[in-house]
């Protein structure tokens, strides 16, 4: 099947929507489909072969912050040309309610259109004022996908219509192999943590307390922490002075370094106390094959197959965490076993699985429909 995907945000700026589109496109290509993505991009940005640049995105205030978007009649003609030359069986637009390429594609195209909503923001009033202009595009969408239950709820309550929920996947092969950071994990062993340090529900304080117990008993053990925080000093002061030189804070790290962090530790810890619907970081650690100790919340119990693919400890209990992590650090055979089980379990969440779910939405909307074509110029307005 030939699939045209539109990305509303600049390809050269890292972001959730962009990586979603990249992983989806690559998974679909792996399945043997023809995929072309059109995205705003600077002219000198090296683009993957399947991405067509739609010119530089313009920074413009939208919804209280500055977004880099493509709009205007030049973008319209680029989208037209892309559709005319693409010969797509289905058009997949992402975030069609953002004033950028996806909205324009809906406007100029006819035929089967699928839309994915990533963040549904209630802005019904704006849509109402510009209704005649925006409606024409929106009404052509044949099927909607929401990436989370929250996005779907906002869509249903504030904008109208319904959507199927297909969550983000994990690009497992990106995590499979990486070089550890120099000097890690080290002879005394290492425990890792990824996530916001000052978000209480991520549970870093549970891990720090457990490290007090573990660090006192194991003189070489180190703790590797990566993630943004307003105040790193403050985090360090929560650890007893004697242990501080064995706690390493990396701050926010790049995607590549994140994978290296996962490969730099003997045990990865997900001490969240709640608020996770899926636990993407835990799934990424599974994809890296690092043995996991996680709190016993629903999201983790599900992704870790009830403890088969990782140790679960009593949520919020540093003593239990220290015991579970200590057992793992002492037992190399058990670590091997958990690593293999995690790699097997995370395959269920791989992008290839997600891409197949998305593809079945494509198959539904193309039924009894023709190819994607252009509407006649000038007929876009009702």
């Amino acid at each position: 099947m030939k699939i045209g995907i539109t990305c509303p945000y600049s390809w050269d700026v890292p972001g959730g929507v962009q990586s979603h589109i990249r992983d989806l496109a690559e998974a679909l290509i792996d399945e043997g489909h023809g995929v072309s993505v059109i995205s705003p991009a600077d002219d000198d940005t090296p683009l993957p072969r399947y991405v067509v640049g739609a010119g530089r995105a313009v920074p413009v205030p939208y919804n209280g912050s500055v977004a880099r978007l493509s709009f205007g009649f030049l973008s319209v003609s680029r989208v037209r040309r892309w559709i005319r030359e693409g010969g797509f069986d289905v058009l997949h637009v992402h975030e069609p309610e953002i004033p950028s390429l996806s909205l324009l594609a809906c406007w100029v195209a006819s035929g089967p259109i699928v839309a994915t909503v990533h963040t549904a923001i209630p802005r019904s009033r704006i849509l109402l004022v510009t209704y005649p202009v925006v409606r024409t595009g929106m009404e052509k969408i044949n099927g909607r996908i929401a990436v989370s239950e929250a996005a779907r709820t906002t869509l249903v309550e504030h904008i109208g219509g319904d959507a199927v929920v297909i969550p983000n996947g994990v690009a497992t092969r990106r995590y499979r192999k990486a070089d550890p950071l120099p000097g890690w994990p080290g002879p005394g062993g290492a425990i890792g943590f990824l996530g916001r340090l000052d978000e209480p529900r991520k549970g870093l304080s549970v891990l720090l307390k457990a490290f007090e117990i573990l660090g006192a008993a194991r003189p070489g053990l180190r703790l590797l922490i990566a993630g943004p925080a307003a105040d790193h000093e403050e985090v360090l002061y929560r650890v007893p002075a004697g242990l501080r030189d064995r706690v390493v804070l990396l701050g926010q790290v790049s995607e590549e370094d994140k994978v290296r962090v996962l490969h730099s530790v003997d045990v990865f810890c997900s001490p969240n106390t709640g608020g996770e619907s899926f636990g993407i970081v835990t799934a990424e650690a599974m994809a890296a094959g690092v043995p996991i100790v996680a709190s016993d919340i629903d999201a983790f119990r599900q992704v870790l197959r009830g403890g088969e693919a990782g140790e679960l400890f009593a949520t919020g209990d540093p003593g239990d965490l220290a015991r579970a992590a200590g057992r793992l650090l002492d037992d190399a055979a058990r670590r091997e076993q958990l690593s293999a089980a995690a790699l097997a379990a995370v395959a269920d969440y791989d992008w290839s699985v997600v891409a197949r779910a998305v593809f079945s939405v494509y198959e539904t909307v193309v039924l009894g429909s023709t190819q994607v074509a252009l509407t006649d110029p000038g007929s876009e307005f009702p």
């Binding site: 313009v58 324009l104 307005f381």
Partner: protein, 181 residues
């Protein structure tokens, strides 16, 4: 003796008249600030109205329309402070008008030239009204801060007027490039 008394009374009278003249001046300045502010608000409102008219005119592509409509929406209440929201509208207008060939792409469409001219005129009026408003605010603040005015509390309970700071530089004239980016 009597001459001395007359002199003292005359001096007191003179000072009294002078002080009350100064107080009256500050009062008049405050009134002028209010008028200038009302004028500024009218021009801002007119600008957002014509911008919305342009957004819903069907002349523009839906993305540009939605951008403008969202910016107008932001200026009419909402969480964002008024000056920031108005600056956002300026930037949205500049981004729309700054597209290369923007004007030529619209010329010939019915009503387009008039509407564009109206938006530009409204934006220019905002620029003027804000200049005049900040001018009288500066004069008022200066008058209030003079030692005599401070000592005698001549401004009474009136609050010191605030400058209205926003991005209001005009949209590019056929230059093909948005200003300020």
């Amino acid at each position: 003796m009597i001459a001395d008394i007359i002199l003292v009374i005359a001096a007191a009278l003179f000072i009294g008249v002078y002080v009350s003249w100064r107080a009256g001046r500050i009062d008049r300045l405050h009134a002028r600030v209010d008028m200038a502010r009302a004028a500024l608000d009218v021009t801002l409102l007119r600008r957002s109205s014509v911008a919305l008219e342009l957004a819903t005119s069907g002349l523009l592509d839906p993305a540009t329309s939605l951008l403008l409509a969202a910016a107008v929406h932001g200026t009419r209440g909402g969480d964002r402070p008024h000056d920031l929201a108005e600056s956002d509208l300026t930037r949205a207008l500049r981004a729309a008008f700054g597209q290369p060939g923007f004007r030529s792409s619209l010329s010939g469409k019915e009503g387009a030239d008039e509407l564009l001219a109206e938006v530009e005129a409204a934006a220019h009026q905002v620029f003027l009204a804000r200049k005049f408003y900040n001018d009288v605010v500066a004069a008022t603040r200066e008058a209030r801060n003079r030692p005599l005015a401070r000592m005698m509390r001549l401004s009474g309970k009136a609050k010191a007027p605030e400058f209205f700071e926003m991005d209001d530089s005009l949209v590019a004239e056929n230059s093909g490039a948005p200003l300020g980016f």
